[in-house]
């Protein structure tokens, strides 16, 4: 019983940040039809920026401790505003007419470049942003002690999911985005400014990646290599859930989180392997992922 409870709680916590990152990836795929390998690097940039900002904030005693969370949020916003339009307008735009696999390779090149850029800016030594982690104290669940921050992260993931769903389904601009996802040519013909939707959606995707990075930073040591593990995991989540599906990303993040937690508790050697096993199984049974709507074949 205790192990099952631990697996459940650990899986939930793991799923929370995974969902924030993966939903950004899936949104970018839905709108721009790009599977962005550089998403993991943007996560890393967010984590580094937040770690630096948090270090600066707590080092200088600028105000109450809890404002550190807003500093992290600000760091994620900064990354999104700086990187989103730059990458979309500066690079990706040039390749829209190419095959979707070629664009994957373009983002792979971006991943390589960003990887070295982060090393140049922040060096190779790990950063720690531990201050915000302890602020919320400890919580006891099923007789196990957890850090309160982890549950705040679950709350943040829920909030992100709900806001995103409401934003997409209950606002005019969200419905415009859905229209572009459905058919970009027709929406363009109806007067939608598709270019603007592309820039905004990509920037929002970057924001979600950076947000995931910023709020994960206090839990981990921020160092080179985190982008690879993040992109591999969020990639699996997005494929399992169905490319472009927000609900799918939520369910898949939960599945992946629980599978990983189960592996860590029961069979530590299978941690990475199990994620891909789940992904291969899902793809073999439902090639389009769990939540992908069927599309008509265009001849």
């Amino acid at each position: 019983m205790n192990v099952a409870a631990a697996i459940f709680v650990d899986g939930l916590i793991d799923a929370s940040w995974l969902f924030i990152v993966a939903v950004g990836l899936t949104l970018v795929f839905g709108v721009l039809n790009i599977l962005n390998f550089a998403h993991g690097s943007l996560f890393a940039v967010g984590a580094y920026t937040a770690a630096s900002a948090v270090g600066w904030y707590y080092g200088g005693n600028f105000g109450p401790a809890f404002l550190g969370y807003f500093v992290m949020l600000g760091a994620a916003l900064l990354v999104a505003v700086a990187m989103g339009p730059l990458l979309e307008r500066g690079v990706l735009r040039l390749f829209y007419r190419r095959d979707e696999v070629v664009i994957v390779l373009v983002t792979y090149a971006l991943f390589l470049i960003l990887e070295d850029a982060t090393k140049l800016i922040w060096g190779v030594n790990p950063y720690y942003a531990y201050e915000p982690y302890g602020l919320l104290g400890n919580v006891s669940v099923f007789g196990l002690s957890y850090v309160g921050y982890d549950f705040a992260l679950v709350g943040l993931a829920l909030l992100t999911g709900v806001l995103l769903w409401l934003g997409l389904n209950r606002t005019i601009s969200g419905k415009v985005v859905l229209a572009v996802i459905h058919d970009r040519d027709i929406s363009g013909a109806m007067g939608v400014n598709v270019t603007r939707v592309f820039v905004l959606a990509f920037t929002f995707g970057v924001f979600l990646a950076a947000l995931g990075g910023a709020f994960t930073a206090p839990k981990i040591s921020v160092q080179p290599g985190i982008s690879i593990s993040v992109i591999l995991l969020s990639f699996a989540v997005v494929v399992i859930g169905g490319l472009g599906s927000v609900e799918g990303a939520a369910i898949a993040a939960l599945i992946v989180g629980l599978a990983r937690a189960a592996a860590i508790h029961l069979m530590p050697s299978a941690e990475l392997f199990i994620v891909y096993l789940v992904m291969a199984l899902v793809l073999a049974l439902r090639p389009e992922g769990l939540f992908q709507r069927t599309t008509t074949r265009k001849i």
Binding site: R98, V102, L105, L110, L112, I228, Y276, L277
Partner: protein, 326 residues
């Protein structure tokens, strides 16, 4: 028919030239070229797939299978013959391809790419934790022998391996050229352009994709065994996605127009890598990324298109501009 004989003749000439060159070139270059040829073989397999409109992000699984087949045969069975080891590597990858191909042949585009990626990452995950196969440290290989020839110095070994790699490269390139120009090879191009049309004409896209995948697996296994022999080492990183990404990089860089371009690109890339990792240890990946972006932007059909473009203009000069009628 003369086309086939011509292709094989050109391949043998290229092999002879390479074997002679290997005697003159410095030792380090021979080492780099052997590894480049090994990787070029894998990329050639990917080019076979790409002609059919599919890209695999998991060719590392075959590369790895070939390498481990060679490493295990050497460790457990005591086989030291390089020719036999490479054959074993190819055979294991071929069997793997035969098993996987029917499962994957129905998938297209991004789903094919992600499934192959998943499979190779599963292989990576398993190998990384299988301590009887060396875990993440992998296996070491000793210097191989070549049929009856037993090289004494390490220089001799690397030259002999280089000759073997050149031979395999030349033969594989020639056979692929012949395959590309055959009816089945041309069907791949048709499937790439429009699958539905190919199906209506009575051919099976599934069958074409499956065959291409098996060929790419065989080439991947041979390349993996060669790479393991030339490095003297094999570890799970052979199946890691960055390794597979490198093969996609190579295939895109060379394009699908020319088989020679694949190996030229492979040698170029290996040279760039060994120089820049020596002189710019922290930024060479980024440089590689910029290089890749530029190639995709300005040479959408790869290096091979350069050769073809020149040949075409040489044969057929540009038509004279027609005087405009007012």
């Amino acid at each position: 028919m003369t086309g086939r004989v011509g292709t094989l003749g050109a391949a043998l000439l290229a092999f002879a030239a390479l074997a002679l060159l290997g005697r003159i070139l410095p030792h380090w270059f021979v080492l780099v070229a052997t590894l480049a040829f090994a990787k070029g073989l894998v990329a050639l397999g990917l080019v076979v797939l790409m002609r059919g409109g599919l890209v695999s992000f998991g060719q590392g699984i075959f590369f790895c299978a070939g390498g481990y087949a060679a490493g295990l045969a050497m460790r457990s069975l005591g086989v030291t013959d390089a020719v036999l080891l490479v054959a074993l590597g190819g055979a294991l990858a071929l069997i793997l391809g035969l098993i996987i191909a029917p499962l994957l042949a129905g998938y297209r585009g991004i789903f094919f790419a992600t499934l192959t990626l998943a499979l190779s990452m599963i292989a990576y995950g398993i190998l990384d934790k299988t301590y009887s196969l060396g875990g993440s440290d992998g296996l070491n290989l000793q210097a191989p022998t070549f049929l009856t020839y037993q090289p004494q110095t390490s220089q001799e070994v690397s030259y002999a391996l280089f000759v073997l790699a050149s031979l395999l490269t030349a033969v594989a390139a020639a056979l692929c050229r012949i395959h590309f120009d055959s009816i089945r090879g041309l069907l791949s191009l048709a499937a790439r352009d429009n699958e539905i049309r190919v199906e209506y004409l009575g051919a099976s896209v599934r069958w074409v994709s499956g065959t291409n995948f098996i060929i790419s697996g065989l080439l991947g296994g041979i390349g993996g065994a060669l790479a393991a022999l030339s490095l003297g080492h094999i570890d799970p990183d052979f199946a890691f996605w960055t390794t597979s990404g490198e093969f996609v990089f190579l295939a895109i860089l060379s394009g699908y127009a020319s088989v020679t371009a694949v190996f030229v690109a492979a040698v170029l890339l290996e040279l760039v890598r060994s120089f820049s990792s020596q002189y710019f240890p922290n930024t060479w990946q980024g440089a590689l990324g910029i290089f890749l972006l530029l190639v995709i932007l300005f040479l959408p059909e790869g290096l091979g298109s350069l050769v073809r473009r020149r040949r075409r203009t040489a044969v057929k000069p540009a038509p004279k501009p027609v005087e405009s009628v007012k």
